[in-house]
């Protein structure tokens, strides 16, 4: 406590009688109130972490043993073998194609349903479509791929369908959000000219949101290329198949090469999308 404050309080009779001096703290600078959610979370996560570790009951000797094996595995992987560079690169190309076609279909679907899902255009239908899209989106692409394999058989086609499904559902959310952010004035102005719903969409909304649509689609493509690289693991075409197959046949240097190709693929896409982001920000 500051000395001048202490003396002031000591002179104040009410303080003297009410509280012993050492308890009379000066009014604190208004501290942010402790939020029950935050306090709860701060207690919950460490405790639950310990509980989880206890429940998972890891075999720590296995951890040590496996780590040694992991390093052996890495050592055996190098140098990467270029023996089957042709099928690997072809599979990588197929992954890219799967991602591209899947995202394109997703964008097309979302371009239509995004408008139908916007609550400022279609209040009731919008909510319904959004709900369905949220449901579809929560199921990972890989699970969709597994289900499409059961439905249409193996190969790149179930991969494309799975990516289109997931990409479409995610883009519906993004697109409809962009549409809902359009200034209400635009809507009113076009409506006042007596335009129909289609005219409102094409003349009023589309010009406002098209750049957002393009940006979201580019980011979606980035995510989908990462997804399509692993779809092959479950048999849906592309480079993932090469990796899981090589791994299962213990062809480690070949696996390493395929994994490196995936790395280069995803990394270059990340660089491209970063470049695009920066360009958009500068504008």
């Amino acid at each position: 406590m500051k000395p001048e404050l202490a003396t002031e309080m000591a002179n104040d009779l009410s303080y003297e009688t009410a509280l012993p001096l050492h308890l009379a703290e000066p009014p604190q600078p208004s501290k942010p109130r402790r939020d029950p959610w935050l306090v709860g979370a701060a207690w919950f996560f460490p405790l639950f972490f310990i509980f989880s570790l206890w429940q998972l009951n890891f075999d720590y000797s296995q951890l040590a043993h496996g780590t040694g094996k992991m390093f052996q595995l890495f050592a055996q992987m190098f140098p990467p073998s270029l023996v089957d560079w042709r099928p690997v690169l072809e599979a990588a190309l197929q992954s890219l194609q799967v991602a591209l076609v899947g995202t394109a279909i997703g964008v097309a679907v979302a371009a239509v349903f995004g408008f139908l899902a916007a609550v400022n255009l279609f209040p009731r239908l919008g909510l319904l479509i959004k709900g369905v899209a949220a449901f579809v989106r929560t199921i990972p692409t890989l699970v969709w791929a597994l289900m499409f394999i059961v439905a249409v058989g193996m190969g790149p086609v179930p991969g494309i369908l799975a990516i289109a499904t997931h990409a479409g559902a995610s883009l519906i959310k993004m697109f409809s959000q962009s549409i809902e952010e359009v200034d209400e004035g635009v809507h009113e102005a076009i409506k006042a000219t007596g335009a129909g719903k289609l005219q409102i969409v094409f003349q009023g909304f589309l010009p406002c949101v098209i750049t957002y649509f393009i940006s979201w689609s580019v980011f979606r493509l980035e995510a989908d290329i990462g997804e399509s690289a692993i779809l092959g693991v479950v048999g849906a075409g592309g480079i993932g198949y090469q990796i899981s197959n090589n791994m299962r046949s213990y062809l480690l240097p070949e696996t390493c090469f395929a994994a490196l190709v995936v790395f280069v693929l995803v990394f270059s896409v990340e660089l491209l999308s970063n470049w695009y982001k920066n360009k958009m920000n500068l504008k």
């Binding site: 959610w37 429940q55 496996g66 780590t67 890989l142 439905a151 249409v152 369908l161 993932g240 995936v262």
Partner: protein, 262 residues
């Protein structure tokens, strides 16, 4: 003036059309290469609809009993993955941020390491780990940790780089020691972003853990993959519903906490 404006406009239009045509051509070429036909979309969706209606519905409620353990495993793996992953990442991010790194070479090394972890998909890590550690939740957890560290190091490093330097200077000017600077100037600015990103990661981990489960990481993913192989579709749809519930519940709670922190 008018003519010039028109010319620029025409150029712009030509540019747009070229890009659109190029992209369309790429898509069509890819579709041809992958033997994909527009009709397949409808055919595939039709088959999917039939599959869902005939084989997946109604979900098997009896499967729930067997599902509780995998679902709990998924939660445990995600939480352990998040906590361990974010702690490792916080330390590494310190070396990967331009403002706090001891040396430029360290920065490049740590960032490169994180980028390798990040850009090789989690599923592929899980495949390799399953090879070394055998099948089980240990593999799933480790795969989640690896996958988290890759993206969190970058995110945390960006937060550290955006820290207001004048606050650091101000604390330093009072003669604070290094730990004091860290505690009074760096941490308060780092914590909100740290918490927000870690929670976001928890959400992603729940999704990721169902995926790494498919190659032997345990949890719900393993169950789904197995059920599909054995044609126990109604059990699988129950598992998917449970997964959805998990994701929605985590999203709800993490959103609540995130709102309070930021």
């Amino acid at each position: 003036m008018e003519a010039q404006w028109l010319r620029i406009r025409r150029q712009k239009r030509v540019q747009t059309v070229t890009i659109v045509v190029l992209i369309a051509a790429l898509v069509v070429w890819s579709a041809v290469q992958t033997k994909f036909h527009v009709l397949t979309v409808f055919g595939g969706l039709g088959e999917m609809g039939k599959l869902i209606v005939n084989d997946f519905l109604p979900p098997h409620p009896e499967a729930l009993k067997g599902l509780i353990e995998p679902a709990l495993d998924t939660i445990y793996m995600s939480v352990v993955g998040m906590v361990v992953g974010s702690l490792i990442s916080a330390v590494l991010a310190f070396f990967a941020a331009a403002t706090t790194t001891p040396h430029r070479i360290v920065l490049v090394l740590v960032r490169g390491f994180a980028s390798v972890l990040r850009n090789i998909p989690g599923l592929i890590w899980a495949l390799m780990l399953a090879f070394a550690y055998g099948i089980g939740t240990l593999v799933g957890t480790l795969a989640i940790i690896i996958y988290s560290v890759g993206s969190l190091v970058r995110a945390y490093a960006e937060i550290l780089e955006e820290i207001d330097q004048s606050q650091l200077e101000a604390v330093k000017a009072t003669g604070a020691t290094f730990p004091q600077v860290l505690g009074q100037a760096v941490l308060p600015q780092f914590i909100p972003g740290f918490v927000a990103w870690s929670l976001y990661k928890l959400e992603l981990n729940i999704r990721a853990s169902t995926i790494v489960g498919m190659v032997g990481g345990g949890g719900l993913g393993f169950y789904i993959q197995n059920g599909l192989k054995l044609f126990h579709f109604r059990d699988v749809s129950m598992a998917i519903i449970l997964m959805l519930v998990l994701i929605v519940v985590t999203e709800f709670f993490t959103n609540k906490i995130r709102e309070k922190v930021i």
